[in-house]
Amino acid sequence: MSPADLRREFEDLLYHEARLLDHDRLEEWLELFAENVRYWAPVRANLGRGQEDFSREHRLAHFDDNKASLVMRVQRIRTGMAHAEEPPSRVRHFVSNVQMLETNDADSARVASNFMVFKSRRGREEYLFVGCREDRWRRIAGAWKIEERLIILDHDVIENITVLF
């Protein structure tokens, strides 16, 4: 497969994922993640240029989920009592700047993408979450699955995070 074709394949996958999230198909969304997934979003800080170190040991994060905790987040929404999302917000994921970072191995790939997530609730309550993701995908039993998703949010002070990225 040519590099351009491979990138298009992941673009399609990411658009598909965004559609699942925006249309409340969260159980199908979970299937995109490998059983050993790490899904994490380090906190941001105002530090000197180049001094922010996401991999610093034990640094706090807005998410640091495994498959079980991601499943729990979805189950929680399905209880109908996750009040911050009742009635559900209207959410739209925009994905762009899809770029292949590493494609040495036919069964694995690192893919970067930017996102904007718009959330609207009651009246004029509107939120925008912006950032990028660096995903490590692996082909497992013929299907691409996410083994690691690093979500780099562009906010130091963020809003109540009731959406998924």
Binding site: A45, A61, H62, D64, I77, I158, N160, I161
Partner: protein
């Protein structure tokens, strides 16, 4: 605004919606509450070395908390004396000087103005530099690693201010010789809502758990239909302390998968705690606890983590939450990693408990702000007169649910708000 007795009615135990929504109440509160109280600013382990600093807020005032060359903690208003620009622009670090980026006025770690560009040419050598140092917050004291500062030149010292609350803070913070250390990074998020709604909940509202956190009960992560464990008065209780601080203790056992990781370390902490604390205090090691140090500093410990947080006021209808994660210094890496992961999963901005609390505070201030609704007070009567003193534990206690601690916050708030003597407007 003089009718404070109508806003907080001590006899009927009600609070007016204006306490949470009125801009004039909010403005007065900045000076009479945040201007007078001891406010949490940092943990000792964030600034261990000379030159270490972190930035924070005291109410709405940006401050820099630093350790000077002699090892003394100082707190300065983070604003240049020349044109008001922020002099320290990063969240944390180590420095010898704070230099304003606007015109270059430079201050040392004791706040002295030590550098004025073109001092001779521009000021003809006449500027009295010794009068133009950074504004220093006059009083700074620590308790068990927690650094507090107060804008009030005079007043009770921190020990007196904390009063009965010290017993509970000792239980939480003084169990081991190593104490607690702060993990890197801060959770910061912005919510609709009034800061007092958050502070009161952590200071004594366990009644909300079955409602607001109903989703967690459905998933079996909190006991369904219950707001307490099975050891009322002894290990399940809420406290109204003097001076407006509140505390909740819950003997809810950790889920088996968590107990498996933290169990052995917890036993070690308990053994050490028995040497350092009273029997009634060491009995509480291993419980879930939540508390508020008046006005806006809360603690919460659950599943191996301790978070200390501030509910920064940002107008009557907005809160900016800053939350730190703490672990015991001797905790093994597996316990630290679990504690961190549990804080992130449960009580971070994406937390499966936290998200729903945020929704309550925000929609509440919207719904009670109208001219008509404002006329009718909110009910804080739960448990009134049923609390009692206990020979082992200070404060007035009662098993959950009760609102004695919650209303205690408004009793203190009302006393401060009705006292206009120190206003300098």
């Amino acid at each position: 605004m003089a009718e404070w007795d109508e806003l907080v009615d001590l006899e009927h135990r009600t609070v007016s919606p204006r306490v949470f929504t009125d801009p004039e109440v909010y403005r007065t509160e900045q000076e009479r509450v945040f201007g007078r109280c001891w406010l949490y600013v940092a943990h000792e382990t964030q600034i261990p070395q000379p030159g270490d600093f972190v930035t924070n807020y005291m109410g709405e005032e940006p401050v820099v908390v630093c350790r000077d060359g002699e090892g003394r903690v100082r707190v300065f208003v983070n604003s240049c004396r020349h044109r008001g620009m922020r002099v320290c622009r990063t969240d944390e670090g180590n420095t010898r000087l704070f230099q304003c980026p606007y015109h270059g006025w430079t201050y040392d770690l004791q706040g002295r103005l030590v550098g004025v560009p073109e001092y001779q040419e521009a000021y003809h050598g006449e500027l009295k530099r010794e009068q133009w140092g950074l504004l220093e917050v006059p009083r700074v004291e620590s308790y068990r690693g927690l650094i507090f500062a107060s804008f009030a030149e005079e007043g009770e010292d921190l020990d007196t201010y904390l009063g009965e609350m010290r017993w509970y803070l000792d239980m939480a913070l003084n169990r081991t010789a190593g104490g607690w250390v702060v993990l890197p990074g801060v959770h910061k998020w912005s919510l609709k809502g009034n800061w007092k709604l958050a502070a009161e909940q952590f200071g004594g509202d366990n009644y909300h758990v079955t409602g607001a956190h109903g989703s967690m009960a459905r998933l079996g992560l909190v006991p369904p239909g219950k707001t307490s464990g099975d050891q009322p008065w002894v290990r399940d209780f809420e406290v109204r302390t003097e001076k407006g601080h509140g505390w909740i203790n819950l003997a809810i056992p950790d889920p088996p998968d968590i107990a498996e990781v933290v169990g052995a370390f917890q036993a070690q902490v308990q053994a050490e705690a028995r040497q350092r604390l009273s029997p009634a205090q060491s009995e509480l090691v291993g419980t879930v606890y939540v508390g508020t140090v008046f006005p806006n500093c809360s603690l919460l410990s659950f599943a191996g983590f301790l978070t200390v947080r501030l509910w920064h006021p940002r107008g009557p209808g907005r809160i900016e939450v800053w939350a730190w994660g703490l672990v015991e210094r001797e905790a093994p890496p597996a316990v630290v990693e679990l504690a961190r992961a549990m804080q992130i999963l449960t009580f971070s901005p994406s937390g499966i408990f936290e998200q729903d609390d945020g929704a309550m505070w925000g929609e509440g201030v919207e719904a009670m702000g109208g001219f008509y609704r404002r006329r009718f007070p909110l009910n804080y009567q739960m448990g009134a007169g049923h609390g009692r003193r206990d020979q082992d534990k200070p404060g007035v206690i009662h098993p959950p649910p009760t609102e004695i601690g919650v209303f205690g916050l408004y009793e203190r708030w009302r006393a401060l708000m009705s006292d206009a003597t120190e206003d300098r407007r």
